[in-house]
């Protein structure tokens, strides 16, 4: 397993070595030529990207890629998913193994700059928390001095964890695993006292445990984790499409357009909705796509609210509240520029 991982990394490095110089727009050209989008997702995180026993993926991150496929091809099914561990994901994107990384990845300055990537937006506003066994009687993260902590290797989580314990002058023993499943197993077995990850993941991992009720999420949120899709530098057209796919879904929710009423809404008199659905103007064409691509995205995948509720919200086992991820009009942070 590890050797495959090393191979992947080396293959990725080799691709970087071998790939010829390309002109801007190469990614979009290649996608159109291939007929599908190569999308990097998580190796198993319920609600975000999770493959069922038949290999069908579902989750917010998965839907973002489907929406991009609907935008480019008019067909949300034209996606090839590649499950990646936290350690593999960035190299896979850098090397061109995938076209877009939609894998609960935190937007940070170094990823935008030194690592040569572009975050296209925020699909989920998250923060890092702690999952712990009730038996230990811990009520706050500040009581964790001396604890053994399971964490996923190669994540911002690993860095926040060290920062938090340093800032509070506490000691801890880290165990870094490649896969979130291994962390969860270790927490269950008692190899570590507490597991740290983004809060959304903690809820998702908790339902995978044998006895979810024995574990609680501590109240502290120790970091800002804006999670979003990422593309690599060098193809602005593709960057725009992925970015606006997300914006369109947020705008659609704000305008009350969803997958069920999208056809009716085309008759709406509201100019914002008319532009969004390609009934008026040629905003869609400006992206080099079909004029009604935004309507297709909404019809096939849904608006942001639908995606959220279906995957992590009330319609899912996770039952996460909208919280920060509510629309700006409802006290949340989800806000998209207008289609104009």
């Amino acid at each position: 397993m590890n050797s495959t991982k090393l191979l992947t990394t080396m293959f990725a490095a080799a691709c970087l070595l071998a790939a010829g110089a390309a002109h801007a727009g190469a990614t979009l050209d290649a996608i159109k030529k291939n007929g599908f989008i190569k999308c990097g997702v998580s190796d198993g995180l319920p609600g975000f990207s999770y493959a069922d026993e038949k290999g069908n993926y579902s989750g917010i991150d998965v839907d973002v890629c489907r929406a991009a496929a609907a935008a480019v091809f008019g067909d949300a099914k034209k996606v090839k998913f590649t499950p990646l561990t936290a350690k593999e994901r960035l190299t896979a994107l850098q090397s061109g193994e995938i076209d877009v990384l939609s894998r609960n990845t935190t937007w940070t300055s170094s990823r935008d700059s030194a690592q040569g990537m572009n975050f296209t937006g925020v699909t989920y506003y998250d923060g890092q928390g702690f999952l712990i066994n009730k038996k230990l009687g811990v009520k706050s993260a500040k009581e964790l001095d001396g604890a053994t902590v399971c964490v996923q290797a190669g994540t911002t989580t690993e860095l926040n964890l060290s920062d938090y314990f340093r800032a509070h002058k506490m000691k801890f023993t880290p165990i870094s695993y490649d896969k979130s499943d291994e962390s969860a197993k270790s927490l269950e077995a008692g190899r570590c006292d507490v597991l740290t990850s983004d809060q959304s993941q903690l809820y998702a991992q908790r339902i995978k445990l044998a006895k979810p009720d024995e574990f609680i999420v501590l109240p502290e949120v120790i970091s800002k984790e804006p999670l979003g899709p990422v593309v690599r530098h060098g193809d602005d057209d593709w960057f725009d499409i992925v970015k606006w796919t997300l914006f369109v879904m947020v705008d659609a929710e704000e305008l009350g357009v969803n997958s069920k009423n999208v056809e009716e809404m085309k008759k709406s008199t509201n100019p914002d909705i008319k532009r969004l659905l390609g009934v008026e103007g040629d905003k869609g064409k400006d992206f080099g796509l079909a004029n009604d691509w935004m309507a297709v995205v909404i019809a096939q995948v849904g608006n942001y609210g639908e995606i959220f509720e279906r995957n992590v919200g009330k319609g899912s086992p996770l039952k996460i509240e909208r919280g920060l991820n509510a629309l700006w009009t409802q006290g949340g942070l989800q806000y998209a520029p207008p289609v104009r």
Partner: protein, 394 residues
């Protein structure tokens, strides 16, 4: 003279001269290789700058910001990525060196046992070899880590060995020795004892050459090695303080801890490689013809001396080269550490550092160079040793 020169065949044109041809072909091959290498390097630089990815080795001096479970040298989250490299390298070297020692000891024992005249011992050795060398190493690591060491009790229910050592799911906690003033003398005494042993061995050898009388070198050496430092230790008033692990809060604090990640990796590597070494040892011993044993017996050497003076020196010549391969394999296999979270070079440096910095090419290049260097060093050492034990033709 002139007649002779005329009878020689005419000098072939230079393109048919095998000498010149050879040089030209080699030059062409060299230029092609260099061009290819340069093209790759140049292309990479080009692609990296086009994608806006940082390159170069400056990242090694910036601060890492994450912690590591096992560090043999001082390290904190404020240390640099360069320090992570050394920590990770030492972790790799530690597990490889211990693995080589254990695998060799176990391998030799099993290898000899395989040839035992005792039916049960021979069969048990055979079963051991067939089981452990035929199961993939990664599976064995998982077995020890997830099946065996996960069955240990929680810290509060630790298995206690006389209240000094504790075993639980977090590892084996041992008392840690703390050196106090005066311990230097004990080390000095040990050094003197070692020098004495070497002198004793030389003297015994010379005496045996001259008079034919043997001397119990091994027993005397062991006695010297233990008694001299121990005597000094008592004289200096036991200048060693033991720090015992204590259960405080979540876990045992203080003392020395062997983490289960390291233990399972070490167990799996040693046991797996020992199976191969055992077969190499068996083959080596069987390669020495039985006539040698018979000749030795007829000269009046007993079976112990026969093994030590006749069979082993000859068997070693056969054993060393494949044994080197096993050492190399073990070292390289230690990179499977990443699968269970042991912070070796691949997990901590080619994994975490690569990911945090995004500088894949640099990290992988450094890691490959390190493994290459370690492997070459092991090869060199073993080749040197091989020359020492090689048959000297007289």
């Amino acid at each position: 003279m002139t007649e002779q020169a005329a009878s020689l065949p005419p000098k072939p044109p230079f393109w048919n001269d095998p000498h010149i041809r050879a040089i030209v072909f080699q030059a062409v091959a060299l230029i092609a290789a260099i061009t290819f290498g340069w093209r790759i390097f140049d292309n990479t630089q080009d692609n990296l700058s086009r994608l806006g990815i940082a390159s170069g080795f400056d990242f090694l001096s910036s601060s890492a910001g994450f912690d590591i479970i096992q560090t043999l040298i001082p390290y904190s989250a404020a240390s640099s990525y360069g320090q992570v490299f050394w920590v990770a390298l030492l972790n790799t070297l530690l597990v490889s060196a211990l693995g080589i020692i254990f695998a060799t000891l176990l391998g030799f024992i099993i290898g000899v046992a395989r040839l035992s005249k005792n039916w049960l011992i021979a069969k048990l050795a055979l079963i051991y070899i067939e089981i452990f060398r035929n199961i993939p190493l990664l599976l064995q690591i998982f077995f020890w880590y997830f099946a065996v060491l996960r069955a240990m009790p929680s810290p509060r229910q630790s298995l206690s060995l006389g209240d000094t050592a504790f075993l639980n799911i977090r590892g084996l906690y041992l008392p840690a020795p703390h050196v106090q003033t005066g311990f230097g003398w004990v080390l000095a005494a040990l050094g003197i004892a070692i020098i004495l042993v070497i002198m004793l061995a030389r003297w015994a050898r010379q005496r045996q050459m001259a008079t034919g009388q043997s001397f119990p070198v091994l027993r005397m050496s062991l006695a010297l090695l233990f008694s001299v430092p121990l005597a000094v230790f008592w004289l200096m008033g036991s200048p060693l303080h033991w720090e015992y692990p204590e259960l405080r809060g979540f876990n045992f604090q203080g003392g020395l801890v062997i983490i289960p990640e390291m233990a399972s990796l070490l167990l799996a590597l040693s046991i797996y490689t020992a199976a191969f070494i055992a077969e190499i040892v068996r083959a080596g011993i069987q390669a020495v013809s039985h006539g040698q044993t018979e000749a030795s017996f007829s000269l009046g050497l007993n079976s112990h001396l026969t093994l030590r003076l006749i069979i082993l020196p000859q068997a070693l010549r056969v054993i060393i080269p494949p044994l080197t391969n096993q050492y190399l394999n073990l070292t390289k296999n230690s990179s499977l550490a990443a699968a269970i979270g042991y912070p070796d070079l691949v997990a901590a440096f080619a994994g975490t550092v690569l990911n945090q910095t995004g500088q894949a090419i640099e990290c992988i290049a450094i890691t490959m160079a390190v493994y290459l260097t370690i492997s070459l060093l092991i090869s060199l050492t073993m080749n040197w040793y091989n020359r020492q034990v090689a048959l000297v033709e007289r």
